[in-house]
Amino acid sequence: MSSFREMFRLRRAIHIRTVMPGLVPGIHVLLNSPIRQTWMAGTSPAMTRNKRLASRSRLALIVVALFGLSIGTASAAEPGHFGYGTVPTAEQIAGWDIDARGEDGVGLPPGKGDVTTGEKVFAEQCAACHGTFGEGEGRFPKLAGGQGTLKDDRPELTIGSYWPFAPTLWDYINRAMPMPTPHTLSADDVYALTAYILNLNNIVPNEFVADRDSLPKVRMPNRDNFIWTDPRPDTAAKPCMSACVDPAAVTISSTAEGKDLTPRTTGPLDDMQPK
């Protein structure tokens, strides 16, 4: 579409020379319109340098904007309209393009890893926080178990019991783990860890090898229990104004008073450690 842009430039050049002052009254409306925002960038230096020139430039902008309106494309500039920045090289994109999609695994790189290797890497890189068998240390997340608990009063949400897609596990370990030294694991190590954690959850057998082909085929136990469209609103209350409920029925069902859970909200930060 560069010829399209050339045409714009040509029109603008013509109108800078030919636009008449009589058009001025229309300016204010247009200067307050979104169109102005789109077209200001390229001409602002001229506007600051010289008032007269600026006025002309504005007129030119208006005419260009009107022209744009007339063909219905004023709000959608052509790609490269501003021309800022650079087009990244294939190498630059490859260096940043780390994502793997959960549902179909698109973006998973070459490489592979098995359960046994994963167990070793896990012991070195992950077990300190997540426990040797993914049971979780302290308040760090538990990675295994909990299957069949999602309807319980206290459900256990783990990779095995909750996560819908296996490639998401590769993606997450690769993008964020280990927490203190992210982006230090090889693709093979991440595949191996993925295999090990899936195996901990009894989702894949001991001989499973994780790679870009096998992971999207792993069927996670909770996969079909997600609804990916938002069904809210959940409530449709009416804003009643008086005698909305029986005053006798207004009772306190729970109170935070006396529960020793609230940090201090005055003075220095409260670490809530016993003094």
């Binding site: 819908p164 992210p182 809530m272």
Partner: protein
């Protein structure tokens, strides 16, 4: 004011009190009230302003001047006709080149709940709503949420890459981004886990900890739609993945329509560069949607034909329902309101006329109305909304209230421009159970006791 007084007497302008530094070194308490630590005069619960003023004057009178000692004798003493700070020369300009709040306000800070998370690097802090007035959250008090700690990004090295299903991939420096046409918008950001600890029962006796994961700022940057037009979308582009430069490379998927509607790629917050805590040098702002999608330290935008189902939108930020199913992509922040005065941190001091104050907001657009009840939802009165009432921004409301000194149950209820009415926790639980963690927008009930103290409660 006094040019003839000081002209030719430069000695008067020896800038700071030289003794300030000495005092600090020696650890001796500075008798100048301006330099007292607020912990010395911490505005504790139940200590009213008048008492504080009296105490301040008392300390000063006793320690610094050795006169007006009558002031020290009781808090009911008259205010000093000419206070110590009126009898001395204050610090000059650029004494504090980047301004700070008054030292008496030292207790007004973000706070965390230590038992909530394994550490502070993947955690949350809460804005002190009880101390905030107005709809703008000061930059130093904006709530924090990190997944891999706060990265300190060098803006010279930072880049934004836009690629995927685009005509012309782009790599932009911060200088490039600032050149694009800029817009400023005031929007709230709320973590959908705000109030998430109260699904089962009232647990935390605090406005700050129950509601402080919401903040509001004026954001300045470029419309995401402008950037997407600049790269040009290929046919089939329907989803947008946004990713941060933090250690977690936090990423989320967004539908293209929202990105072309009102999303902003911003570099400024309340008139200055973003704070590192809020994504310096560049972040996304997705107005009205759960805060997690407003990716901070934004480094990459990728166009695709399907969502990514990243960890943050599958294992987290999904809502577990009582039947064991889960909802995903529940981005919208439903309408919510809360009374910010009185509250557990700001109790009442005796019967009389008060102004009940609060904040309301909705991801649907504008707040239309807020009602307030002082009897646990039996009867309601419509509160006054304060201008400006902006779309997807915090909105102030207030209602005068003559408190008779009897126990009361205070509630606020917002109705937004779509007609949606903020539900009670009971109504919400009926549908959502108690395990969905996110999107608790229930009415908050504050119990006011006869002594004026205030507690977080839930009603049956």
């Amino acid at each position: 004011m006094r040019p003839t007084f000081w002209r030719g007497k430069p000695g008067l302008f020896k800038p700071a009190n030289p003794r300030d530094a000495k005092l600090r070194e020696s650890g001796v308490r500075d008798p100048n009230p301006r330099n007292l630590n607020s912990s010395d005069l911490a505005p504790q619960d139940g200590v009213n302003r008048r008492a504080m003023l009296g105490l301040g004057a008392a300390v000063t009178g006793a320690l610094a001047l050795g006169r007006n000692t009558a002031l020290a004798q009781s808090e009911s003493a008259s205010p000093p006709a000419d206070a110590p700070w009126s009898q001395s020369l204050g610090a000059g300009v650029v004494d504090r080149p980047y301004g700070n709040p008054a030292e008496f306000e030292a207790g007004v800070i973000r706070r965390n709940v230590p038992w909530l998370t394994a550490g502070t690097e993947s955690s949350i802090s809460f804005s002190p709503l009880q101390h905030l007035n107005g709809i703008i959250t000061p930059n130093g008090l904006f709530f924090e949420r990190y997944h891999a700690g706060r990265p300190d990004v060098d803006p010279k090295q930072h880049r934004l890459m836009i690629h995927g299903l685009v005509e012309r991939p782009l790599l932009l420096t911060m200088e490039d981004i600032v050149r694009f046409p800029s817009v400023s918008r005031i929007h709230f950001i709320e973590c959908p886990a705000n109030g998430g600890m109260e699904w089962r029962a009232a647990q935390l006796n605090s406005l700050q900890f129950n509601h402080g994961m919401v903040s509001c700022a004026e954001w300045t940057g470029v419309k995401l739609s402008t950037l997407l037009e600049e790269v040009g979308l290929k046919k089939g582009a329907k989803w947008v993945m946004v990713e941060g430069a933090d250690g977690a490379h936090m990423n989320r998927s967004l539908p293209l329509e929202k990105c072309l509607d009102d999303c902003l790629v911003v570099y400024a917050q309340n008139g200055e560069a973003l704070r590192p805590e809020q994504g310096y040098p560049l972040r996304l702002v997705v107005p009205g949607w759960e805060g997690n999608v407003s990716i901070k330290w934004l480094r990459r935008i990728k166009l695709g034909d399907k969502p990514w189902h990243s960890r943050e939108e599958t294992s987290k930020y999904t809502d577990l329902m009582p039947d064991g199913t889960s909802r995903g992509f529940t981005w919208l922040i439903d309408a919510k309101s809360v009374i910010t005065f009185p509250c557990p941190e700001k109790p009442l001091h005796g019967p009389g006329l008060y102004e009940i104050r609060g904040l309301a907001w909705t991801g649907h657009g504008k707040v239309k109305r807020v009602d307030v009840s002082v009897d646990g939802g039996v009867n309601w009165q419509t509160a006054e909304l304060h201008e400006p009432v902006l779309s997807k921004a915090l909105t102030r409301f207030s209602l005068p209230w003559r408190w008779d000194g009897k126990p009361a149950l205070l509630e606020s209820r917002v109705i937004d421009e779509t007609g949606y009415v903020q539900p009670t926790i009971v109504q919400l639980r009926e549908k959502r159970g108690t395990n969905s963690v996110y999107h608790n927008n229930a009415i908050q009930t504050w119990q006011v006791k006869a002594d004026g103290s205030v507690f977080d409660v839930q009603l049956s």
